[in-house]
Subunit: 314 residues, 2 copies
C-alpha cells in the first residue's frame, strides 16, 4: 500500500512517530534482549498513513484528541504486529521491513513473536482506553467491530487464505475475498472506527464502509498491477513475482486490461460514496487527496503499459 | 502444572469443555484449513483447571454467571494461545500437546500462529463482554490488570527471559523472576480477576494476590523438582532435562534440599494468607483442596527422594 503514502507527505509525521515510539512503555525489569527487539520496532515506524487518517477522521467527528491518538496508535500496533508475523520464515520469509532488518532476522523468530504479541496486548489496552469514556452502546459496537475485522471473520482469515492460495481456484472472487480480509479490514477500521466513536450517523458509516471497500480493492489492484508490470518490464515476459510464488494477484487472475478496467470502476464507485459523504459532512477534504493519489497511480500504470515494447505489452 | 489438576477431578469438566469448544464461533466463510486447525485446538481442551477456578472464585463473589463463563473461557484461550506459541520450533519445539499432535506439527507453523491469534482476538472480545456491565472503575482496573499480567510486565517478559536463560545468572532470583512472569501471571489472573470484578475488598484482593504468588512458585517448584528427580531416577545421575537443555529450574539452581525447604515455606506462606482470607469470606473451601494437592505433591517428592538408592540421592 505504498501508493497511499505518496499523497500524505505534506502532513508532518513527527508527532505520530513519537507517539508510536512512546506508546508502549517498557519497564526497567524487561529482558534486555526483548527490549532491544521492541525498540527496533518502535523506533522504525512505517508510513503511518493509517494513524494519520484516523486522526483526520476523528477530528472531522470532534472525537477527543487523547482517544483519537490512542486509537491511531493501537491500529498501527495491530498493523505492525501483522507485518512482523507476515515476515516470518513460515509466512513470507522477508528480510527487510521499514528500511531495516526484519525483527526475526535480527533477534530470532521467538523474540519476533513476543514483540508482535507485546504490540497486540498494548493495542487492546489502548483501544480499551480510547473507548472507555464512550457510551455503553458505542463501546459494544466498537469492540464487536474490532473483533470481527481482526479475527476469523477478517484479517486472520484473509491471511490464512493468502497462505493457501496455491490450493484455491485462481479467480477474481478468490483474490477479492483475500483482499477483503487482508487489505480492506484495516482500512475499514481506519475510516469507520473513529467515525463510529465520534457519533457518525448510520448513513455516514455506510458510506465510509463503501469507500473503505472500494479503495481497499483499488489499492490492492494497484499493487497487483505494479507487481505484474514491473516484472514484465524487467524480464520481458509475463512472469510476475506473485505468479512465480503463486501468491494471490487480482491482475493476473483477471488479465491486465480487465484489471485496469476494474480499478477504474473501483475509483468511480468510491467517488460516488465520497460525493454523498461530502454532502453530509464537511471536514473530509483530506479524503479527496487520497482519492487523487489513486488516480495518479492508475495513470502511472497505464503510462507504463503504453511505454512497453509492443512485443511484451499484454 | 499437572499437579493442580489432580485435586479437581471431582468437578465435572463437561460444561466447561463445551464452552471452550463453542466459545469461538467459526464463520461459514472460514478457510477450511484454518477451520481444521482451530477445531483441532478447540476440540482438545486441557485440564481446564484455570477456568474451573475462575468459576469458583466468581461464584464466591456472586459474579453474574455469563460474565464468569466469558472470563473463564477468555483466560483459557490466552493460556492455550501461549502454549501454541511455546510449542513452536523456535521456542520449545514440542510435538505433542493435550494428548494430540501440536497444531504446528499437524497444520504448519503459519496456521498455528493464526490459530493462536484467533484465540487471543476472541479472548479480548470475551473479556470485554465480561466487564461490559461492571462499573467504569472496575472496568479500568480489570483492563489495566490484564494488560500488565499478559504484556511486557508479565507473561511475555517471563517467556523472553525463559528463552534466554542460558545467558542469565543461574540463581534463585532468575528462576523466580521467570516463574513470576510465566507461571504466576496466569494464576494471578485466575484468582484475582474474578474477585476484582465481583467487588472484593482491597484486603481480599491482597490476600488472593499472595496466595497466587506462593502457590504459583510452589507449583513451579514441584514441576522443577519432579523434572530433576525423574531424570535422576531414570539416568541414575544428576542430569535433568531442564539442566541438559539449559532451561530455568529452581531446584537445580538451589539444590534439592533447599528446594524442598523452599517449597515447604511457600505452602506455609500460602496457608497464612488462605487462613486470613477464609476469615473474611466464606465460599472459598475449594481453595483448601488445591492447597492439599500441593501438600500431596510435596509428600510425593520427599517419598521419591527417600526411595532413591543412597548413591544417587542428592
Amino acid at each position: 500500500m505504498d501508493a497511499q503514502s505518496a499523497c500524505m507527505n505534506n502532513l508532518s509525521n513527527t508527532p505520530i512517530a513519537d507517539a508510536f515510539s512512546a506508546g508502549l512503555p517498557l519497564p526497567s525489569t524487561l529482558d534486555p534482549r526483548f527490549e532491544e527487539a521492541l525498540r527496533h520496532v518502535l523506533d522504525h515506524p512505517g508510513s503511518l498513513i493509517r494513524p494519520r487518517m484516523i486522526l483526520l477522521v476523528a477530528s472531522a467527528y470532534g472525537l477527543d484528541a487523547g482517544a483519537a491518538r490512542d486509537l491511531a496508535i493501537a491500529l498501527e500496533y495491530f498493523h505492525t504486529a501483522s507485518l512482523i508475523f507476515d515476515d516470518l520464515p513460515c509466512m513470507d520469509n522477508a528480510m527487510e521491513r521499514r528500511g531495516v532488518a526484519c525483527v526475526h532476522f535480527e533477534f530470532g523468530e521467538a523474540e519476533a513473536i513476543l514483540t508482535a504479541l507485546a504490540l497486540i496486548n498494548r493495542a487492546y489496552a489502548l483501544i480499551w482506553r480510547a473507548v472507555s469514556s464512550a457510551s455503553r452502546d458505542s463501546q459494544r459496537h466498537a469492540m464487536a467491530y474490532i473483533e470481527q475485522l481482526l479475527g476469523v471473520n477478517g484479517l486472520l482469515n484473509g491471511q490464512s487464505l493468502d497462505l493457501h492460495y496455491a490450493t484455491l481456484p485462481h479467480t477474481r472472487e478468490t483474490t477479492e475475498t483475500i483482499a477483503r480480509g487482508k487489505t480492506v479490514s484495516l482500512i475499514r477500521l481506519t475510516l469507520v472506527l473513529p467515525a463510529m466513536l465520534g457519533g457518525a450517523s448510520e448513513r455516514e458509516l455506510q458510506l465510509l464502509e463503501r469507500i473503505a471497500l472500494y479503495w481497499g480493492f483499488a489499492y490492492q489492484m494497484v499493487d497487483d498491477l505494479k507487481d505484474l508490470l514491473d516484472s514484465q518490464a524487467k524480464s520481458g515476459k509475463t512472469v510476475a513475482r506473485d505468479l512465480l510464488l503463486d501468491r494471490p494477484n487480482s491482475a493476473s487472475a483477471l488479465g491486465i486490461p480487465a484489471a485496469v478496467q476494474r480499478l477504474t470502476r473501483f475509483i468511480e464507485l468510491g467517488d460516488r460514496s465520497l460525493a454523498n459523504l461530502l454532502q453530509l459532512r464537511i471536514g473530509f477534504s483530506f479524503l479527496g487527496k487520497l482519492r487523487s493519489s489513486l488516480e495518479e497511480e492508475l495513470a502511472r500504470v497505464t503510462d507504463n503499459l503504453c511505454e512497453m515494447p509492443a512485443g511484451v505489452r499484454p
